[in-house]
């Protein structure tokens, strides 16, 4: 078992809303609220949620594409929140990202070679052009494209091929961590299968950790070892993926799983029954009081509107943020690990090292 490569504690990201002549701040979009989790060096960590849940913002903040408002991000002992322009370089070398839409994340005026070469030049890898050309050819080989592709332009490639190029670009600096932000949601299912297989193979071969962000629950089920479910900026449930899907505790997780259209009878059987899919995700400018899900939750009680539940470890390794689920479990099980939240676990890990 490897130790954590990334530790996130109480991460907060608010975006200011400005209006008027002097761009006075009129409010805040509370995109990410007190998010804590850790990722071990050899795992694929899934992050699921609907649009507006803040999952992409978490991914981008981890890599300092956005500056966090508050919180701690420790990556391989580096404090990511305190990096300056110069020291960000070393983070970029070890942590990369693949975006959702390869059409817009690749520059259409640049050849594939020029796209893949850029980070090599910036980080002074390869002595000369010929050296770099060889590295580029190797990178293309890694994503199962022929070296000839380096002379092509993004418009000449299919969606799947473009996404392979985007993956090759992320691999160029031999990172140990990649944020995959919906890497296959723009692809057809047969192409998605190939890209997912490629990502799985690369993860094992090159011993990387992934943060796999997706709205596709079945896909996360297939690829991730642990999964966190986000709703309105907060993690609502976090568990080993198999546990999360076979024993979802949070009402939102249940709703989400039951809403997935599935193809087989076995899948239909495992879906939580009698779930309602009513309501929509509220605005993160004025989130509901207490538990953010309470206006849509059928089990909601008075306490849900008043108090924000903690993310509690109710079964070893299974965390949930819900008054009702925690009460139900404590009635049944004699001993619950009343570990305050995952934060404490994460900080234990820091002190241990």
């Amino acid at each position: 078992m490897n130790g954590p490569i990334l530790i996130v504690e109480g991460l907060v990201k608010h975006f200011p809303l400005r209006a008027g002549l002097f761009h006075k701040q009129t409010g805040e979009v509370k995109a990410v609220e007190e998010v804590s989790f850790d990722i071990t060096a050899d795992e694929i960590f899934g992050l699921v949620g609907e649009s507006g849940s803040g999952k992409s913002t978490v991914g981008k903040t981890l890599l300092r594409i956005y500056k966090p408002t508050k919180g701690i991000i420790q990556f391989k002992g580096m404090d990511v929140t305190k990096l300056t322009r110069e020291t960000l370089h070393s983070l970029r070398k070890q942590a990369q990202i693949v975006f959702q839409d390869p059409k817009s994340s690749l520059n259409p005026r640049r050849s594939i070679r020029s796209t893949l070469e850029e980070s090599l030049i910036v980080h002074k890898i390869g002595k000369n052009g010929r050296d770099r050309q060889k590295i580029v050819a190797d990178l293309l080989g890694m994503v199962e494209l022929s070296p000839n592709y380096m002379y092509k332009y993004p418009s000449m490639l299919s969606g799947g091929q473009r996404q392979r190029v985007a993956i090759a670009r992320a691999l160029a600096l031999k990172p140990s961590f990649i944020v995959l932000d919906e890497p296959t949601s723009a692809l057809d299912v047969s192409v998605q299968a190939k890209v997912i297989r490629l990502l799985q193979r690369l993860q094992v071969e090159r011993q990387m950790a992934y943060l796999f962000i997706s709205h596709d629950l079945s896909l996360v089920r297939t690829i991730a070892s642990r999964t966190a479910v986000m709703y309105l900026g907060r993690i609502q449930e976090l568990a080993a993926t198999a546990d999360l899907f076979t024993n979802p505790l949070h009402p939102y997780t249940k709703t989400l799983i039951s809403a997935v259209p599935v193809v087989s009878a076995e899948e239909r059987q495992m879906k939580p029954k009698n779930q309602s899919h009513e309501g929509e995700i509220p605005s993160s400018i004025n989130p509901p009081s207490g538990c953010a899900f309470h206006p849509r939750c059928r089990l909601a009680e008075q306490v849900c509107a008043q108090e924000l539940p903690d993310l509690m470890e109710v079964i070893p390794g299974h965390f949930v943020r819900c008054h009702i689920a925690i009460d139900a479990l404590s009635a049944n099980t004699r001993e619950i690990h009343l570990v305050d939240s995952i934060q404490q676990k994460a900080s234990n890990k820091i002190t241990r090292r």
Binding site: E50, S51, S158, G159, G160, D188, V189, S190, V191, Q192, A193, K194, I196, R197, H215, D216, L217, S218, L219, R221, T222, I223, T241, A242, F245, T255, L256, I257, S258, A259, V260, P261, V262, V263, S264, E266, E267, M270, K271, H277, E278, E280, I281
Partner: protein
């Protein structure tokens, strides 16, 4: 005997392009019975949208060429209709729901303005009614918005599409589609642009309405889960050819065509487990479409005959048809 609301027979659609002739649809056949929900599944670029446009009489000719085939909608051949007849059809019998509710509504007019337009259009083609008064117009609008369970319809009517969420916009579009009391509805990826819980709401709403109103539906989507959960029969399309058609339960349990098999194996499952390797290769360029079975360059079971002759439609058992040389002996239809 079952009544067909839609019959597509051996439809060929070509497009004149700079490189020559792009042979997009190569003999597509499909039918929908009265009151039935039928799925049309296939990946990007397989010709789903062209098929749908042909049914709605929305193909521009030229550049489109229709050398062969017919589309019979409620007893009439759509391909031979005049513009006026098409309007009549759309005003009274047929409706459509589009994929992207953002683009299907005009952002500079209120929802009300656009909904009133649709109601007036439909009314114009219902000869037995005179011109609608303002009050009648408003009442009809509120009734359809109620049917799609939109809260506070009066406020919705004065809103612009930007002020509504994706799910609400899709409900407005469904309301518009219901205005003419359609007998046949084409739903083109109605849930794709929406979140999973919102998508489930929309699909629940649609199938409820369709059942109570007795509307027949052709659901076009690339999402196999949606097809599995909402349709009774399904047609799988690849590169402009229909490769397999069967009752939904039958096809999902026991897909026969190598393409259907590859497609289903690529779907990630809620129960976990690895997904298959996908299907090698890519969808062909239609100006140089492969001869014979268009899937043969990507097929693991390809035989010499596959590239020479288009396979016949074979009936494996009643209601399960496949177009593949592997099964050609078992019971030819054509």
């Amino acid at each position: 005997m079952d009544q067909y609301i839609l019959e597509i027979r051996d439809l060929h659609v070509y497009f004149r392009v700079y490189e020559g002739i792009s042979r997009v649809l190569d003999g597509v056949s499909l039918d929908v019975r009265e009151g039935e929900q039928v799925g049309l599944a296939g990946e990007t670029g397989c010709g789903k949208t062209v098929t749908m446009k042909a049914v709605m009489g929305a193909l521009k000719i030229p550049p489109a060429i229709i050398p062969k085939g017919e589309v019979i909608l409620d007893g009439q051949n759509v391909l031979k209709m005049s513009a006026e007849q098409l309007h009549q059809l759309k005003g009274t019998k047929v409706s459509m729901i589009f994929q992207d509710p953002m683009n299907a509504l005009n952002p500079v007019f209120t929802v009300g303005t656009q909904l009133f337009d649709v109601i007036r259009f439909s009314n114009r083609h219902n000869s037995n009614q005179g011109k609608l008064s303002k009050k009648e117009l408003l009442n009809r609008a509120i009734t359809v918005l109620d049917e799609v369970r939109l809260p506070d319809p009066k406020r919705i009517l004065t809103s612009y599409s930007l002020e509504l969420s994706g799910g609400m916009r899709q409900r407005v579009l469904i309301a518009m589609a219901l205005v003419n009391g359609p007998r046949f509805l084409i739903a083109d990826e109605p849930q794709t642009a929406l979140d999973v819980t919102i998508g489930a709401q929309i699909l629940d709403l649609l199938s409820g309405l369709v059942k109570t109103m007795g509307i027949s539906v052709l659901l076009i989507t690339h999402n196999l889960g949606v097809i599995r959960e909402t349709t009774e029969r399904v047609n799988i399309m690849y590169a402009g050819q229909m490769v397999e058609a069967a009752s939904t339960a039958l096809l999902f349990e026991n897909p026969k065509h190598p393409y259907s098999q590859g497609l289903l194996a690529s779907v990630p499952r809620l129960t976990g487990g690895d997904i298959a390797e996908g299907i090698r290769g890519t969808v062909p360029d239609y100006t140089r479409a492969p001869s014979g079975c268009r899937f043969h360059p990507r097929c693991d079971h390809a035989m010499p005959i596959c590239s020479q002759k288009k396979p016949p439609l074979t009936m494996l058992k009643p209601g399960h048809y496949v177009r593949c040389w592997l099964y050609a002996k078992e019971g030819e239809v054509e």
